[in-house]
Each structure stands twice: as C-alpha cells, then as structure tokens.
C-alpha cells in the first residue's frame, strides 16, 4: 500500500504557506498588507514564504501602483490550486490512516 505521507506537498508543509494558500483559494486576490494583517506574521516571514510559493508557481504576483504607491497583489494559479487540493487530500488520508 502506498504511504499517504508521500503525497504531502513538501512546499505546503509550512503552516504559513498553507495559510497563504487557504486565503488565496477562497478569494480572488490579496495584497501584502491584508495577508500580513490576517495571518499575524512579520514582514520578513511573510515575504520569504511568498517567495517560496512564487518559485513553485503556486501563486502569481501582480505589481501595480495605487496613488503612486506600489501595490502588490497575489493570486493563486491553477497549479497552486491543484497542489492545494492534492495536499488536502493527502492530509485527509494521513489522518484517516491513523484512526
């Protein structure tokens, strides 16, 4: 039998990354400050996790200017959505196996 732990997404094992994905999967887009405010994490911490998700192409970044201030919006990609779903399925399987 296949080990359900193998199906867990290594990138999404970090809780903050998982939370970023949860927020983006339910909403169209989020900017940096809104994400920070919701997850209650530091700038540096959030930025590093966003970079990791961006590197995997799980989220897309859209930089614009609002009133001449930079405004960065993050969106989930199709790849990210699939990865999130797979990771959830794996989590479910892991927990089921333990019961």
């Amino acid at each position: 039998m296949k080990n359900p732990f193998d199906n867990l997404d290594k990138v999404l094992e970090h809780r903050v990354r998982l939370q970023i994905m949860s927020a983006l999967v339910t909403n169209d887009a989020f900017d940096f400050s809104a994400l920070k405010e919701m997850l209650n994490v530091t700038d540096g911490n959030l930025a590093s996790h966003i970079k990791a998700l961006e590197k995997e192409k799980y989220i897309s970044v859209n930089k614009t200017f609002v009133d001449r201030k930079p405004n960065t919006k993050y969106k989930i990609t199709e790849k990210g959505r699939n990865a999130f779903r797979k990771h959830l399925d794996a989590l479910e399987a892991v927990i089921k196996q333990q019961k």
Binding site: L18, Q19, S22, A23, T26, F30, M38, V94, I95, Q98
Partner: protein
C-alpha cells in the same frame, strides 16, 4: 516528519483562515437590536406625522402627493433612522472587532459593504422615484424587498443566519405589496421587529 496532531492543526488553521478571509465576523447583534428600536420609533413618529394631519395612513397613501410637506417629513424620519442605524452598526461592530482582535475593515468587510451597497442604493433610488411619481403605497414593499435581496446577497460574506433574515424581509415585502395602504405596519415589522428578533438571536449566539 510532523506529528499527526500537527497535521490536524494544519487543517484547523486552513479552516480558520478561510473563514476569516471570507466572512465579516464583527457584525454586532446588539446594533441590530438597536436599529430595530430606531425603526419602531421612526414608524411611530411617521404614524404621528400622518395623523397630525387628520388623515389615516390608507387615505394618505391614496391621496398621494397632495401634501408634500408630510412627504418631506416622512423622508426626513426615514433618513434619520437610516443614518442612526448605520452609525450604531459601524460603531458597535468596530468595538466587537477590537474585542475579537481582528481588523474592522478587512477584505471581507469591504466586500460585504460593497455587496450590500449596490442593491440598497438601487432600492433607495427606486423608492424615491416611486415617491416622485406618487406611488407611495409601494414605497414600503420596495424598501423591504430590496433590503431583503441585499441581505440575501451579502450573507455569504458574514454569518449564515443573515440569509434567513433576508428571506423573511423579501417575503414580508411581497406580502405588503399585496396590501397596499398598510405599508407602515409592514415596514415596522420588517425593519423594527425582525431586526430586534434577529439581533437578539445573533447577540445570544455570537456576542456573549
């Protein structure tokens, strides 16, 4: 490798973030009760204004625009009730947000405000147009129906119970449209009694 309970915590945190990012949970039940009281006071004042002119409400409805000064008084009362209700709602909800330790105007709150505003402004303008053309009897039903539609629409961004309040307002609005001339009574039930009942339910369930 993580422990099994950590995976369980992962799932709990997903759920928590999804709710927090999508739902506006600072909505205060107490402010709903107060808004209902304002509406009842307003309806009482409107009744008094109409009767001070020695006519009953039904008759007034059919006499339509013959007395613009009464009309302006009624619009004034409605505006005072509206502003007092929104003011109390914003004030008590921001207090509740502080207590819950979440930002008041987050993404979900902004979306809720936007989703409510579109049908409400449409309904408000349509009501004014009806009054302008003298269809006074349909003012209360239209207000109730548009308000109900706004709540129904907005409920996905806040507590689920709001959906049923919206449905009640819509049904009440439709019934009152059948009984033109009794709008004030239906208005008092919809904006007064239902708000107090719902506010009390929400207060008991979420605010304590």
């Amino acid at each position: 490798m993580k422990q099994i309970h950590e995976y369980e915590q992962d799932i709990a945190s997903i759920r928590n973030i999804m709710e927090k990012s999508f739902k506006f949970l600072s909505l205060s039940g107490l402010s709903g009760m107060l808004a209902g009281c304002y509406a009842l006071v307003g309806a009482g004042a409107a009744y008094f204004v109409i009767h001070a002119e020695n006519r009953n409400y039904r008759q007034y409805v059919f006499e339509s625009m013959r007395n613009p000064s009464v009309m302006w008084k009624l619009i004034g009362i409605a505006l005072v009730v509206l502003i007092a209700s929104i003011g109390t709602g914003v004030w008590l909800s921001s207090k509740k947000a502080k207590k819950l330790g979440i930002p008041f105007m987050n993404t979900a709150g902004r979306r809720l405000a936007f989703n409510l505003a579109i049908p409400l402004i449409t309904g408000g303008l349509f009501t004014l147009i009806l009054l302008y053309y003298g269809f006074i009897g349909f003012a209360a039903p239209v207000m109730l129906m548009f308000y109900g539609l706004a709540l129904f629409q907005g409920s996905s961004n806040t507590y689920d119970e709001i959906r049923y309040l919206g449905l009640c307002e819509i049904v009440l609005g439709l019934i009152s449209a059948l009984f033109v001339g009794y709008g004030l009574i239906f208005w008092a039930i919809g904006f007064g009694v239902l708000h107090i009942v719902y506010g009390a339910i929400m207060y008991k369930k979420y605010d304590k």
